[in-house]
């Protein structure tokens, strides 16, 4: 490299030396008496060819290969600089195309491709079970969770796992730090930390000894919670915190980014699950299981191992005297182990691949546009290139020049694209799509940069090869003769550009169809009746009352009643109620066998399982969920002795035939019969795009089996307030004060409006919609630019022909139509190809659609019309210019 820079000096030195040499020789000859003129001629003759020798001397310093590449590069830069409009358009198009693809690649790579952030993550599996024979269960989950007894069976008797653990989410109240607050806790059994195998950032793991069912064991904190509440103070280790009013010692902190089975859920506190091995029934399917397989074991082998253990489990445990352990045989429990990564990624994979494919198509469209521009430029140089080829320039030499220009475009575009990608990712992270797992791992890393580089180089080569293929090939002398002066351009010269336009239209059509289907999906979702109304005016407040604070269930119901009264007194609040879980909150549902009077009365006959929820009086009124029959709960139902229930409409129809018929009938979960007093409309509990489950609603009163902790009713409840001021800071503060007037130790969480909760459940659709919408509009704009560019270039090339036609008496209207028609023909072919492609590709999007078929006829009619309209408009402008040509001027030019 130094050579390149010091060379200017060398060259001037060399010329100096040669000049000195000649001057000295002339001096000498003059001294010898030769005339000066004569002397100069002789000196030069003796010296030889000055220019040639200087040239040779310079070549000594050259690095000839690189030199001529460098020269080509400089030429390309200069040529682009001469056409700033072209350069800016091409670079912007490429920067956006490559940038968007790089950004999405970063997301796909971080979310889908990279292993989970646990050592040897490929050994981790999620212990999923299926129970196709369990009636009613299929209503809400195709997945059966593990029971404590299963955990003990699996962990003690498996042959394929290094370790097995179970865990469960819950919310706990932490008091005594700042304000009381509700935080997320993960209850973990022995084996969970060993399975995930991430060492603690501070302190130690929860140990086997900590899993003592008879004492309140220690806890660990998440890194985030440690930073938030303790400012990252190491002194926190060993301190006690009040968890649900019980003092628990902090023994360790997990490192930043650690999650218990990474997903959209994050914990603040890790608690030992402390399962009592001596008190586990068969049932209690509420735990999620993970396992680390031994090295070299496949998922299928592990699956077979667990399948072997299911009968063992049934033999070893019991639900109590008099029950039949083999009853579960009819459930047909089978393991369905999944690699943990698949569990974490969930359904987001399909969204991301669709987005990636979409942007890939945008990239293709961007390529065709820039390729078109390059073709036009190469065509303008047709004469020059032909002459050079005729003078003996090698095919490769000319190809190289064209390639250098396009690769330069690609690389500069790539550099700009990294900026675009960075901005795009920041935007994405700022949007915080809640349904995107592993969000915290998304970054523009080396892989992304490599991808951008690859794409940039590929862009350069692909773009360069088209004109190279057209012009460097043969470089025939024909070009010289036919280039400028013939009457009109040959068909051959338009073919490549026409093909590009057709491709562009086809791709734009596919994207627009996709975007439109998403818009229609969104519309359908918006028109689904969620079972509640005017969600923007419903404020939610979540309050948990731990057993350690108020042990007596009757007292809890009292406290909740007091809170409702206090909240109802807030000015502007129209009505207040609460439920154990509000719709779409993602709170885990409760379910059990529900018996109906007059049927399934015998002990071993098992009715279907049903989901249930606890709701207060006025809850349905507040949510504006219509009562179909009967009446709402009253406070007398809550505090009084008469057991009652409300059914959802679909459940009432299923069990009793009609809502009216259900009123007065009796059902039970345990021993006590409850009278059905009302039927309410179905509610989309699990999200607007999910079917509304059949539900039983109990009043929030103490369970009918006293002393069974797990059967406790709504200790955690979501209070709903209907008010014009929902979502305002003022209402939230007043609601908080209302709670604290009842009990100052109660934490308040989940302060949202119902509208926000409902929107979150549509997040996947809106995310896909936004991405496809952006891609679709980009495709449309690029496609229109492409058509406009081709037609207007054709017009400029055919001025002469148009002049002749006009001179011979062609009608201007007919001329205009000729150009519009050629655009429409291209569009028509593109639409045809695009429709076929769309029909195939949209099947892949099926899982993202709701209420719309992937072959939606409206969409498939409207989009081609829109495209044809755009094409007609894009070609009309240049066509009008063509018709406006003055024949004399056109024929006289050149």
């Amino acid at each position: 490299m130094r050579n390149l820079f010091s060379r200017e000096r060398r060259y001037s030195e060399l010329s100096e030396s040669v000049r000195e040499h000649l001057a000295e020789r002339v001096e000498e000859l003059v001294e010898d008496g030769v005339a000066r003129d004569e002397a100069e001629v002789r000196a030069r003759r003796e010296f030889g060819n000055v220019t040639l020798l200087e040239e040779r001397s310079r070549e000594v310093w050259h690095w000839p290969r690189a030199e001529s590449w460098w020269a080509d590069l400089r030429l390309a830069v200069r040529r682009l600089g001469k056409a700033p409009g072209f350069a800016a358009t091409a670079l912007l198009t490429l920067a956006i195309g490559i940038g968007a693809n790089t950004a999405v690649f970063s997301v796909v790579n971080s979310v889908l491709l990279k292993p989970l952030p646990y050592p040897h993550a490929e050994q981790l599996v999620s212990l999923r079970l299926q129970a196709p024979g369990a009636e009613g269960l299929a209503d809400f989950r195709d997945q059966l969770r593990l029971s404590g007894s299963m955990y003990f069976t699996f962990t003690e008797q498996n042959r394929t796992f290094q370790s097995v653990g179970v865990w469960q989410r819950r919310t706990v109240n932490v008091t005594g730090l700042a304000q009381p607050e509700e935080v997320c806790a993960a209850l973990i059994s022995d084996g969970v930390l060993e399975t995930l195998n991430v060492p603690p950032a501070e302190g130690r793991w929860l140990s086997h000894a900590d899993q003592d069912p008879h004492s309140a064991g220690p806890v660990m904190l998440s890194y985030g919670y440690w930073q938030r509440r303790f400012g990252g103070d190491r002194g926190a280790i060993g301190r006690n915190i009040q968890v649900d009013s019980q003092p628990r010692q902090i023994v360790g902190v997990m490192p930043r980014g650690f999650r218990v089975v990474d997903g959209d859920w994050d914990f603040d506190v890790l608690e030992p699950m402390a399962l009592d091995r001596n008190a586990q029934p068969l049932a209690g399917f509420g735990l999620m299981g993970i396992g680390r397989m031994k090295p070299g074991v496949t998922v299928a082998e592990a699956n077979a191992d667990v399948a072997r253990l299911i009968p063992v489990w049934m033999e070893s445990w019991t639900n109590g005297p008099g029950t039949d352990p083999h009853w579960y045989v009819q459930w047909r429990i089978t393991p369905h182990l999944l690699p943990l990564k698949q569990e974490v990624i969930g359904s987001v994979g399909s969204v991301l691949w669709v987005v990636m494919a979409t942007l890939g198509v945008v990239m293709l469209i961007a390529w065709t546009n820039v390729a078109n521009l390059l073709l036009v430029r190469a065509e303008a140089r047709h004469m020059e290139l032909s002459i050079r080829a005729a003078l003996g320039a090698g095919r490769w030499r000319i190809a190289r020049e064209l390639l250098v220009e396009s690769v330069l475009l690609g690389l500069v575009g790539g550099v700009l694209a990294v900026g675009v990608a960075y901005g795009g990712l920041q935007l994405l992270l700022a949007m915080e799509p809640t349904n995107l797992p592993r969000l915290n791992e998304i970054a523009l890393d080396g892989w992304s940069l490599g991808f951008a580089l690859l794409l940039a180089v590929m862009t350069g080569l692909v773009l360069g090869l088209i004109p190279v293929w057209r012009y460097a090939r043969g470089g025939n002398a024909l070009g010289v003769s036919s280039g400028g002066r013939t009457a009109s351009a040959s068909r051959e010269r338009h073919r490549s550009r026409n093909v590009l336009v057709v491709a562009q239209v086809a791709m734009a059509l596919v994207l627009l169809v996709g975007a439109t289907l998403m818009i229609r999906t969104f519309e359908h979702l918006r028109h689904v009746d969620p079972g509640f109304a005017d969600a923007g005016h419903v404020q939610t407040v979540r309050i948990g009352i731990p057993e350690s604070m108020i042990p007596d269930p009757a007292m809890v119901a009292r406290t909740q009643h007091d809170i409702v009264d206090q909240m109802a007194a807030i000015p502007g609040v129209q009505s207040v109620g609460f439920a154990a879980a509000a719709p779409m909150e993602g709170i885990e549902p409760n379910w059990n066998l529900i018996f109906r009077e007059g049927q399934n009365d015998k002990g071993n006959d098992h009715p279907p399982m049903r989901l249930f929820n606890y709701v207060s009086p006025n809850y349905f009124r507040t949510m504006e969920t219509p009562m179909i029959a009967g009446r709402d709960f009253t406070w007398t139902d809550v505090h009084g002795p008469t057991p009652v229930a409300i059914l959802s409409e679909s459940l009432a129809r299923e069990m009793f035939g009609s809502p009216q018929a259900a009123i007065g009938k009796r059902i039970r979960e345990f021993a006590v019969w409850h009278e059905v007093v009302g039927v309410v409309a179905d509610v989309h509990e699990n999200g607007i795009d999910q079917p509304s489950p059949a539900m039983v609603y109990w009043p929030p009163k103490p369970g009918d089996v006293p002393g069974l902790k797990t059967l406790d009713f709504a200790r955690g409840a979501t209070f709903v307030l209907r008010s014009e001021r929902a979502g305002s800071e003022g209402l939230v503060n007043e609601a908080q004060r209302a709670v604290w007037r009842v009990n100052a130790n109660l934490p308040v969480a989940s302060l949202h409006t119902m509208q926000e909760t409902a929107s979150r459940s549509m997040a996947r659709t809106s995310f896909t919609l936004v991405m496809l919408g952006i891609a679709g509009s980009m495709a449309l704009v690029l496609g229109v630019i492409g058509i406009y560019g081709v037609i207007s270039y054709t017009v400029s090339q055919r001025r002469r022909e148009i002049g002749i036609r006009l001179a011979l008496g062609a009608q201007r209207g007919a001329l205009r139509w000729m150009f519009v028609r050629s655009a429409l023909v291209l569009t028509g072919i593109g639409v045809g190809i695009g429709l076929v492609a769309a029909a195939g590709l949209m099947q892949l999007m099926k899982s993202l659609l709701f209420g719309v078929s992937p072959m939606d006829p409206t969409t498939y009619t409207a989009i081609p019309l829109v495209l044809a309209g755009c094409a007609a408009m894009a070609s009309y402008l240049p066509a009008r210019r063509a018709a406006g040509v003055d024949p004399m001027e056109a024929l006289r030019s050149e």
Partner: protein
């Protein structure tokens, strides 16, 4: 690179002559050309100018270096002199030439 350079001489002859001349005494381009011409005029036909590409090659190879000096006519000129690497090269070239000449002589003597 530049093989035509050796049309009139066998490969390396010009370099050897330049190195030998400059090793004895640093000279500027014109003086060097005159010197080589003078000693080889009858035997070898070279253009004065053909020295310069050779000089550049040798500068690049590091056998020579140039510095500003004064010509006998009191003009500022570039004086070329042999570097340590150049001296080593001269030694190697000379011995290989001598071997070659000895070989040729022996062949011609038979």
């Amino acid at each position: 690179m530049g093989k035509e350079e050796y049309r009139d001489l066998f490969p390396g002859a010009l370099e050897l002559m330049i190195l030998q001349t400059l090793y004895r005494r640093p000279l500027h381009g014109y003086a060097l050309a005159q010197h080589i011409k003078a000693i080889s005029d009858e035997l070898l036909q070279i253009e004065e100018g053909s020295l310069y590409p050779a000089l550049q090659r040798m500068l690049k190879a590091g056998w020579l270096e140039s510095e500003m000096g004064m010509s006998p006519r009191n003009r500022p000129v570039r004086i070329y002199k042999v570097t340590a690497a150049g001296a080593k090269r001269l030694e190697a070239e000379r011995s290989s030439f001598e071997k070659m000449f000895a070989g040729i002589t022996r062949v011609l003597a038979t």
